[in-house]
């Protein structure tokens, strides 16, 4: 197995560092999968065995790397999968925002390592400094690869574009102090409602006029749920999902990445998928499963 990649453009390097920082906030461990044309960061639910990932991030190598070479396991299995500490990676990449170049390679030292060579310019002179980080990795054997396949998702009932993540995050954080679960409700008319309900209060924040990308209605609701409906709303065009407020807020910390758009897809009562896409074609997807009583 061999891997070698070089990044020299400031924009993509900054973005790469931001993406890794977000991942490190979401999870301590992550899996890096390398293929011919993409780098993938995959996070599975912590402390549980094989389970569908909670975060799936695709980075197209052509947009980021000026040089990219890799040889996988053998002819049939061309990919490389390795597990590493996302915190280590994020800390090593902190200096990337001002760096001139980044070289990444897979090396064999005392243990397999992902070696990062970062070249930073010196403020006063033409000389540059070079810092090398070795991050220990565990190469994942082929029989476990299937644990890290792209999750098969049931078709979402609705996909709706989200308003500013920053705005959304402040609101969710305020709600989080009052309740641990938030109900996300999306309508085919482009309305998105975040709602919490406790003994003390019921708070709903409504966004309207959002872009609906897809809607696979009508949604079937059982009779017991329809009692709360407001008379002027057509319930068959609304779906909702109850999720953990903390997880939602964690994903929303991705506001730091300059994204061009974020889409929220809801599988009625089961799953919320948040998908963020940047100008450099990085795709960050987060899966938050619904809470059902």
């Amino acid at each position: 197995m061999k891997f070698r990649a070089v990044m020299i453009d400031a924009g993509p390097m900054r973005e790469f560092s931001n993406v890794v920082t977000i991942i490190s906030k979401l999870s301590k461990e992550c899996v890096l999968r390398l293929t011919d044309d993409h780098l993938y960061f995959i996070v599975s639910e912590e402390n549980s065995g094989p389970s569908p990932p909670v975060l799936w991030c695709e980075i197209p190598q052509r947009m980021f790397c000026s040089e990219y070479q890799m040889i996988g396991l053998d002819e049939e299995h061309k990919d490389i999968y390795m597990a590493l500490s996302s915190g280590n990676l994020a800390r090593s990449l902190v200096t990337l925002k001002t760096a001139k170049s980044l070289k990444m390679k897979l090396t064999k030292k005392q243990c397999p390592c992902l070696t990062l060579e970062i070249e930073t310019p010196c403020v006063l002179s033409q000389q540059t400094r070079q810092v090398t980080h070795d991050i220990p990795v565990t190469v994942i054997p082929r029989k476990l690869w299937s644990d890290y396949h792209e999750p098969r998702i049931p078709d979402p009932d609705i996909s709706i574009e989200l308003p500013s993540l920053k705005q959304l995050r402040t609101t969710i954080d305020r709600m989080r102090t009052m309740a641990s679960e938030v109900v996300i409700r999306a309508s085919a008319e482009g309305r998105l409602t975040l709602q919490i309900k406790t003994d003390m209060a019921k708070v709903s924040t409504r966004f309207k006029g959002l872009n609906v990308e897809a809607f696979a209605g009508p949604i079937e609701h059982s009779d017991s749920e329809t009692e709360e409906t407001q008379a002027n709303e057509d319930m068959s065009r609304i779906c909702y999902c109850r999720v953990d407020a903390k997880k939602l807020s964690m994903f929303l910390s991705a506001e730091q990445i300059a994204s061009n758009r974020t889409v929220c897809s809801v599988v009625h009562k089961k799953l919320v998928i948040l998908c963020l896409q940047t100008d450099e074609n990085v795709k960050l997807q987060c899966f938050i499963s619904g809470i059902v009583y």
């Binding site: 308003p163 705005q167 709600m175 209060a201 924040t205 409504r206």
Partner: protein
């Protein structure tokens, strides 16, 4: 109301207990928080702070509400955002309704239903018979600095007021120390001083410290002591427009041993 921001910071200033008594009077809103039977803090929002203000005059609008929830709701769009606020309350047993809309964004709004409870009676600390023995007007930021300097571990806060120099002397007693701050009436932070005869009053320091958050957002503080030892602090809030909001603290003195 055009902006709920000032109201929110005023609420935070008196938020040392979970619930407050919310009272809507024809002159304005009053929220009262009590700690034990020793400190009573109120926030006043005169009705001219609202663009529209209606209270039915045939019923008492008074209920208990969680002040933490109320201030989180007011702050739902974050502290950087000015948002307009509408408040409704139908009558006993119904929730307090809030509708918030940020000024910089047109496509979003929040509505909150905050449950209310029947209010317990509020302590009437003011005693009409007790006459006022001293009155001081101080600059709030300077007074805040003074309180912040006092060692936290002290328990007793003693206030000595006298017409003679030094007019104000604050003595604090802790486990192993005693410290003293003198403040003559010529001091920059004293805007007015009136006291006929010397008086010594003792309070618990942590009661006094409970006004610090309110001091931080105020410009002026009026300190009144009455002959029964009760201290009343009236704080005027800093606001950009001409309208005013107030907070008021009653603090019960320590009894002599």
């Amino acid at each position: 109301m055009d902006s709920g921001k000032t109201l929110c910071s005023l609420l935070k200033a008196i938020q040392f207990q979970e619930s407050a008594v919310f009272c809507a009077l024809p002159e304005g809103l009053k929220l009262t928080v009590e700690e034990g039977k020793c400190v009573q803090a109120s926030a006043y929002v005169p009705s001219d702070n609202f663009t529209e203000y209606h209270v039915r005059d045939d019923v008492d609008v008074m209920f208990k509400i969680s002040i933490a929830v109320l201030s989180e709701c007011l702050n739902i769009f974050g502290s950087g955002e000015e948002s307009s606020l509408k408040m409704y309350y139908r009558g006993e047993g119904s929730p307090l309704l809030l509708v918030l809309q940020p000024q910089s964004m047109y496509n979003v709004m929040t509505d909150c239903e905050i449950s209310t409870q029947t209010a317990d009676s509020v302590l009437e600390l003011r005693d009409e018979d007790a006459e006022e023995v001293a009155k001081l007007v101080l600059k709030a930021p300077a007074f805040l600095g003074l309180l912040a300097d006092i060692e936290r571990s002290c328990e007793v806060f003693e206030l000595n007021l006298s017409p003679e120099h030094p007019n104000v002397s604050i003595v604090t007693y802790g486990m192993q120390d005693r410290s003293c701050i003198d403040m003559p009436k010529s001091s920059d932070m004293v805007q007015s001083f009136s006291c006929e005869s010397p008086v010594t009053l003792r309070y618990q320091l942590h009661h006094i410290r409970s006004i610090m958050k309110a001091l931080a957002i105020s410009t002026k503080v009026v300190l009144r002591c009455s002959s029964n030892g009760l201290m009343l602090l009236q704080l005027k809030l800093e606001k950009e427009d001409q309208r005013q909001m107030f907070s008021e603290f009653y603090i019960v003195p320590l009894l002599d041993d």
